[in-house]
Amino acid sequence: MLGYVVRRLLWGLLLLLLVSALTFVIFYVLPSADPAQLRAGRSGSLATLAAIRHNLGLDRPLTVQYWTFLKRLVLHGDLGYSYYSDASVRSLLFDRIGPTVSLALGAVVVWLLVSIPIGMISAVRPRSWLDRLTMGGALLALSLPVYWVGLVALYLFSDDIGKWPLLPGAGSYVPLAQSPWEWFTSLIMPWLVLASTYAAIYARLLRGNLIETLSEDYVRTARAKGLSERRVILRHGLPPAAGPLMTLAGLDLGLLLGGAVLTETIFGIPGIGRLNYEAIVHADYPVIQGTVLLAAMFVIVANIAVDIGYAYLDPRVRTA
């Protein structure tokens, strides 16, 4: 098991290297805004541009640039400096990670707490009115784009522009360390909005999986043993049905930790997603590279965690 984890981690590192190379190539090979031009402004002379290029190391061959980047990253954990703000990319990421982690983890908790009971109830009583109601609601939640739901939520409930000013609105994010209560209230709307789509997907997925596992032979055996229906569902039906949910939750969490651009933008949460978006607008390559690598790392780690979780859940995976 340990060897397996180490092997997976090494593959993960290789994957990160590939991702960094790919980001680099895409940024430089494909046409994008010239960072030197953006820095010099409209009136920048050719000499200024050349000086800026030289300062940023943009006049050196691409391979050298990439090599320098890798060397600094591996040796010093240094991701370079933002072309736009001159701040170190590492400190930018550190500043922005808190809000993103708060948003993503909270949303995961919300959507699991909502979707698991709904999925289970629908699976146990398929075609009941409750099933139809919740699955209809899920279809609706699934179809509504998050930016629209976010804006409607703000319009209805935010304490500045809302019809019913119940909750702090856009731009109200407060770090947890500063005030746990305000942190919590400021994130309620973003959590619910971000979680709605996921909750819908997960509820439908769990419903389908659970209906399937409840028709498995081993569930019939559990019933034939005289177990209570509650135990049959929770202990015999649910774990196999929850496996794919765990896979998906791991990947979704990994992706969200890389930044939820739309939700962060609508609610003015200063997270990784916003940082990434701003960096793209400013052709700020070091920041783009930093956010992409961070997101890739989260996805890779989440994948490994999911695989370990699977081995824990299903003994057949352990021996395979």
Partner: protein, 358 residues
Amino acid sequence: MSAGAEALLRVEELRVGFATGDGVVQALDGVSFALERGRTLGIVGESGSGKSVAALTVMGLTRGRRTHVEGQVLLDGEELLGATAERLRALRGEAVAMVFQDPLSALHPFYRIGAQLSEAVRAHRDVDRAAARRRALELLELVRLPEASQRIDAYPHELSGGMRQRAMIAMALANEPRLLIADEPTTALDVTVQAQILALLRTLRDELGMAMILISHDLGVVAEAADEIAVMYAGRIVEQAPTQRLFAAPQHPYTWGLLTSTPRLDAPRGAALVPIPGRPPSLIHPPSGCRFHPRCPYAREEHRRVDPPLAPVPGTPAQQVACLLPADVRGALWRRLAAGATPDEARSAAGLAPEPAA
């Protein structure tokens, strides 16, 4: 069978229908049988004949919104079809236990054998974990699982098919049930293991004094263990007789088909195996008249209209058959078939015109 009050299990006119998009599948259509303590009833038939549905209905496992059940199931005089879900749960695994066809899919892949056995014990007995585990080990030894003390911590996928089925049987015996239902217990196993499992079931039945229902598509499997055999076709019992009698003088053309389509050492040398033509009928729109008539080589015109009841065979009241052919014609036909004749030869020898119903 004899006096109803003494029967452990009495099933009366059981009808089970499943509502589907295409119509109601009448999986059981008026099935009656009785089973006394310590006896074994074999139920034989093709897939879809209703044998598993009969077993699952006795266990209360076919209940559902789309299932329609009629008739009576009496266990020690207690009516089960109308019993509450809680009462049925209390009886399942306690008074009536079941062994399923494929132990790999019937055991939960996520849990150790010992845990699954302990769970069966604790579902009905208020004992602590340690006591349940001791009982689990005792059960695994009872079913002669080799190295039981180690295998108790194995997962199902770590055991061979035969060992898994032994574990499955151990689980069914956890609370010493009065009735054990074994639904195709050997079908998923190697031939050599099949014989071992059957022998084990017979031994355990005698040791524990259980009654047993042994379900199989294979007459050979049932022959060794059952006191009495019921042959099912399209949701009904078409023939029922003590085992010896059924093999010596089978009465129903479907039973003949089952017997002549399987190799037998006592069959005449060179006798060809004769498959039963056609497929099992639709249970949504079953054939008119005798349900077997579309596949019966001896069917007459009237057999398409008249539905034969299950009735005692003249002279042998222990044997019942649902067939419209006269008893003497049946006797003549089977004598020919048993001697190795094909259905066509038997028919002409018995003086029946060829395929008048076709």
